[in-house]
């Protein structure tokens, strides 16, 4: 990983604004708007903790392509999704954004502070996010998003809202 310093400040700012946009879409429950940020060939991966392994082979907390994400987004808006009734209120706070690679796609590392409040219960999670972005500023598409949860190897309660 490079030091994270990018002389290309405009590009860096465009990436940062893109991540903020994604967080805003999730927190405003604009699930289809969020899904639209993903390229058709994208994957979304939340690994379990422990040794490194290939998501194609081992179990994961979540590993979905865009087709499966479409199903997930439909359920997120379904009136009888019990785990989302009452609706969670969430904050996705993005920090420590750095460009870690530029070719062939932009690779972006950032940190996520996630807070959820729902039905009197609170959920706090932190993670390092890794986005692989294609396209130009203003029209980025997520090719791959990986969520490295700080507590990936721990116990979890239900995680309904995408991180």
């Amino acid at each position: 990983m490079s030091a994270g310093y990018s002389p290309d400040l405009e590009l860096h700012e465009a990436v940062r604004q893109f991540l903020y946009l994604e967080a805003r879409l999730l927190d405003s429950r604009d699930w289809t708007g969020w899904l639209d940020l993903f390229d058709e060939s994208a994957s979304y991966f939340i690994p379990l903790g422990g040794e490194e392994y290939d998501p194609e082979t081992g179990p994961a907390l979540l590993y979905e392509d865009k087709a499966l994400l479409r199903l997930r987004v439909t359920r997120l808006g379904h009136p009888r999704a019990y785990a989302l009734d009452p609706q969670p209120v969430t904050t996705h706070a993005i920090t420590n954004v750095s460009l870690t690679r530029k070719e062939p796609h932009l690779e972006v590392s950032s940190l996520l502070n996630f807070h959820q409040f729902r039905d009197g219960e609170e959920l706090f999670l932190t993670a390092r996010l890794q986005h692989l972005l294609a396209g130009a500023p203003g029209a980025f598409k997520i090719m791959r998003k990986t969520v490295f949860l700080t507590n990936a190897g721990g116990w979890h309660s239900v995680m309904s809202v995408p991180l």
């Binding site: 907390l61 979905e64 379904h78 019990y82 979890h156 239900v158």
Partner: protein, 438 residues
């Protein structure tokens, strides 16, 4: 009052779920006596290999001995009670306490300690009573390691009874009859009583209701099957499966036994994982199984179409999809569910990918299916915890039962979408708890 008064033919008192005092008694008289799954042998192939496990609320070390046997030891130093080992698994020659460096052999006996001259002869290497507390009974059934905190009691074989067939089926689904457990497990905590898990797992009415959101999402979202690159539509098929019409759910077989065990028939009628659907992967697997076991035997193995095999009180074997779940009570209103999948020796790699995806889609904390079950468990706990009702009903299908021929009459089969599995669990609960006074 005797606890047997809290369980009737049709009813369960809410205190079985909401009373911390009863929970304490369950830890002593159920989890402190009965055979509990602690590990699979593939986690401990070499002498000196160990892993951590839970027996009720007790953390234990499962250790492969120098003679190849297995011991299960409490993970607490015999000196000050310090938690001895914090690594979830590993390989060692001795366990050394981080506090005063007392060292224990693989069999739990005291091996060495610094400042030996400061202790008297009752505290010296090899001294009786200074070793780690050993769980008195350990038994292995076809690679599955169970332990019991009771020095005496029914054998593991007697405890498993007809449910041993579920473990047999999982083992035999491996062409070379060797299973390897995947260490990557899911660990899901819900704020509800441990019994809810097994009461729900073989309930065949709830799926089309509780899982309506995932069934409908799979039905209505316009996606071409070819677009499911990651799993070829497996997850979608799993979501759809819960949407069987009521008359079909009523035909899914349910069997229960006085030991508390139960199983339900399979219900994957279409899609990638259904028996009717044989793609290239399933075919290559069947051919490998037939080559290893002979065609007739392979056909028998694959014909055992069951979903959850619940071994009371806390083990769930899904042989067909190469999964297990272990349910750990934490408090009367807090439970941990661990999910594992297996690699079948001699089967195509893709079979393991399917097992992994099954675990990810069904038992992960992000599951579009299980997440709704967890929400229901928490709502039941909240409803009972607020003294909402005195008695829970478990009468559905009562009296509409007959001997289960598939188990040689050792179990009882239901003729409808019955709560027979819950009644079986309560029969076992009453056996272990009923005579206690509260």
């Amino acid at each position: 009052m005797k606890l047997s008064h809290l369980v009737k033919d049709r009813k369960i008192h809410h205190r079985l779920y909401s009373d911390p005092e009863i929970f304490e008694l369950e830890m002593e008289h159920i989890f402190g006596r009965i055979w509990l799954f602690v590990a699979h042998e593939s986690q401990l192939p070499e002498k000196g290999d160990f892993c951590l496990a839970r027996m009720g609320r007790t953390e234990v070390l499962v250790v492969r001995q120098k003679d190849g046997g297995i011991k299960v030891l409490k993970n607490s130093c015999s000196h000050r009670g310090t938690r001895l080992c914090a690594a979830p698994h590993g390989h060692t020659g001795a366990f050394v306490c981080p506090y005063h460096n007392w060292a224990f052999n693989l069999d739990g006996s005291l091996k060495a300690l610094p400042h030996a001259q400061s202790y008297d002869e009752q505290v010296c290497p090899g001294a009786a009573d200074m070793g780690l507390a050993e769980i008195p009974r350990v038994a292995v059934y076809r690679g599955f390691i169970f332990a019991s905190m009771a020095a005496e009691g029914p054998s593991l074989d007697a405890h498993l009874g007809p449910l041993a067939a579920a473990i047999d089926n999982l083992v035999e689904r491996a062409p070379n009859s060797e299973l390897t457990i995947c260490r990557q497990k899911t660990s899901l905590v819900y704020q509800g009583n441990w019994k809810f898990h097994h009461e729900n797992a073989n309930d065949t009415i709830h799926p089309s209701i509780v899982h309506e959101s995932s069934v409908n999402s799979a039905r209505t979202t316009p996606v071409d099957m070819a677009d499911f690159r990651a799993d070829k539509g497996q997850t979608k098929g799993m979501m759809l499966a819960n949407g069987l019409p009521p008359q079909d759910w009523a035909k899914i077989s349910l069997s229960g036994s006085a030991l508390g065990h139960s199983f339900m028939g399979g219900f994957y009628r279409s899609g990638l994982l259904s028996a009717a659907h044989e793609d290239d992967v399933a075919k290559a697997y069947r051919v490998a199984l037939e080559k290893a076991k002979g065609k007739q035997k392979a056909t028998e193995i694959l014909a055992m179409d069951r979903f959850n095999n619940l071994i009371w009180p806390n083990f769930n074997v899904n042989a067909q999809f190469h999964q297990i779940r272990v349910v750990h009570p934490l408090r009367h209103n807090r439970t941990l569910v661990e999910g594992y999948c297996f690699r079948l020796g001699g089967a195509p790699d893709e079979m393991f990918r399917r097992a992994s995806r099954f675990l990810t889609a069904l038992v992960s904390p992000t599951s579009m299916i299980f997440g709704d079950d967890m929400e229901i468990f928490e709502r039941v706990q909240k409803g009972l915890g607020s003294d909402g009702i005195d008695w829970l009903d478990m009468s559905r299908g009562l009296g509409r039962e007959s001997p289960d021929d598939s188990t040689g009459g050792q179990m009882t089969a239901s003729e409808t979408a019955s709560e027979l599995p819950i009644r079986s669990q309560m029969q076992a609960w009453t056996h272990y708890m009923g005579d206690l006074e509260i």
